[in-house]
Amino acid sequence: MILSVHDLSVTLGGSHILQGVSFDVPPTGITALLGRNGVGKTTTLRAVLGEIPATGSVDFGGVPALGRPTHRLVRDGLGYVPEDRCVFAGLTVAENLRLAVRSQDPDFRTVFGLFPELKQRSDQSAGTLSGGQQQMLALARVLLNPQRLLLIDEPTKGLAPAVISAVAAALERMAERVPMLLVEQNLAVVRRLARDAVVLAAGRVAWHGPTEELLGDPARTRDLLGVGSTVRRP
């Protein structure tokens, strides 16, 4: 297991958001983290990353992760694409990318191959990019460096259908090299990419297993995610 989360609890602003979450992420493929709005998906990722105080235990690549500073974890190969993108609005696209470079040999080819727009806009300040362009930039930042695990929070949010398929394809290709923990609302994307799924409800893990078992069983899907599994093609 590349990541083992055990009994993770988080309290924010007086409310007990995560109440003992446990799950594992296997060292290959994509694991989806699902659940309705406000259930604590983002909170889980940020707790793993050490951005918010949490109790319990988190094990990243065999080393305890809780309590270690975020930047150390990242340097050990834990990449993070946050939910609200968090591109640096005051910096240009090129500067955003330059900042993210950690390795000797950043992989600009893959990045510009996936997102040619970023190359054209390298001198535009990131704050004026359209929503979708910002998302691409956020993804590009983690793709530059070699990674051991990616935490990706809703990468397709706000993207046009064509871009969603492009991003999905990119994630699929990346998944051949690095495992991912993916938060995603678009079940079509989940179905296509994720091998395993973890469903959160009421601060706990409500279900954990192969994605097929979840999405292939309409009753279970409705039960856990509140929707029919037949996701209409756009």
Binding site: H71, F88, G90, L99
Partner: protein, 287 residues
């Protein structure tokens, strides 16, 4: 003619002094987003450290010691006061206000409120004739130092990644960490640099004024603020341009205008610049 030459050269000297003081302020403000009211304190610490060495030991090491003292103060302040407050930017600024109050009082309790005369190389008191104008030599020292500092700062920002890290860190510190960068160390570095610049300005300012007093740094701060803001927040080149504009304007208005018009004209310049281009000279026009 000789009057114009004299006013121009001494105006540039004044500009150099403003730039030396404002550059550190601008660096910290532009990069770390902290309007550092304690910058005047850093300045005074550097000045007193240089003074102490120069009067008790030798003149030579005064500048390096002043710079080191300023840098150490900057680092200490960042580590002890600024760092724990990074989630609360307003409080950071306020803490520096508190520091400036306490620090000046502390210096005063150690060295008294009266100005101490500042040792300096004898040649700085001489003048050089330029087109009939007797230009004090210490102005050339100031201008030289300012150019040096400007070049060094530009190189730092251009050739290292720190400028980028810190600008990004101001916007979203957590995200910079999430890119695997120890953003805290970068902030400490900026404060150390700002302190070092203040220390240099303190020693050179002490030599320029021929004296040092606890409130000297704080007293100079207001014009430094104006220079920083006119120059566009955090732009070192903008800061240099603004310093020259302010120095020359003040000098000429003081000579040709009525008393007090020099200060008022500078303040008016600030107001006009801010209203026309809220981001300062180097800033982009915002809608």
């Amino acid at each position: 003619m000789s009057t114009v030459v004299l006013l121009t050269l001494t105006g540039l000297g004044l500009a150099a002094l403003y730039f030396l003081i404002a550059s550190g302020l601008s660096l910290v403000f532009g990069l770390a987003g902290v309007l550092n009211f304690a910058h005047g304190l850093f300045l005074s610490v550097g000045a007193y450290a240089g003074w102490f060495v120069a009067t008790h030991w030798a003149l030579g090491p005064a500048i390096p010691v002043g710079v080191a003292a300023g840098a150490a103060t900057g680092a200490l302040v960042e580590l002890v006061v600024i760092r724990p407050l990074y989630r609360r930017p307003t409080e950071q600024v306020l803490a520096t206000v508190g520091l400036s109050l306490a620090g000046v009082a502390l210096l005063q309790s150690i060295w008294g409120a009266d100005p101490r005369s500042y040792p300096r190389p004898a040649w700085t008191a001489h003048t050089t004739g330029v087109l009939g104008a007797q230009v004090p030599d210490d102005r050339f020292l100031l201008i030289g130092a300012a150019v040096l500092v400007l070049a060094a700062l530009l190189a730092f920002l251009r050739w290292t990644r720190y400028g980028l890290i810190i600008r990004a860190g101001v916007e979203n510190r957590a995200m910079v960490s999430a890119l695997g960068i120890d953003v805290r160390a970068a902030f400490t570095l900026v404060f150390t640099l700002g302190g070092a610049l203040a220390g240099a300005a303190g020693v050179l300012g002490g030599m320029y004024f021929g004296s040092v007093s606890p409130g000297q740094g704080a007293g100079l701060l207001i014009f430094a603020f104006i220079v920083v803001v006119i120059g566009g927040l955090g732009s070192v080149t903008g800061c240099a341009v603004a310093a020259v504009a302010v120095g020359l304007l003040q000098q000429f208005v003081n000579y040709y205008g009525t008393s007090g018009a020099g200060d008022v004209s500078v303040v008016a310049l600030l107001a006009v610049v801010l209203l026309l281009r809220p981001g300062g000279v180097a800033g982009k026009v915002t809608a």
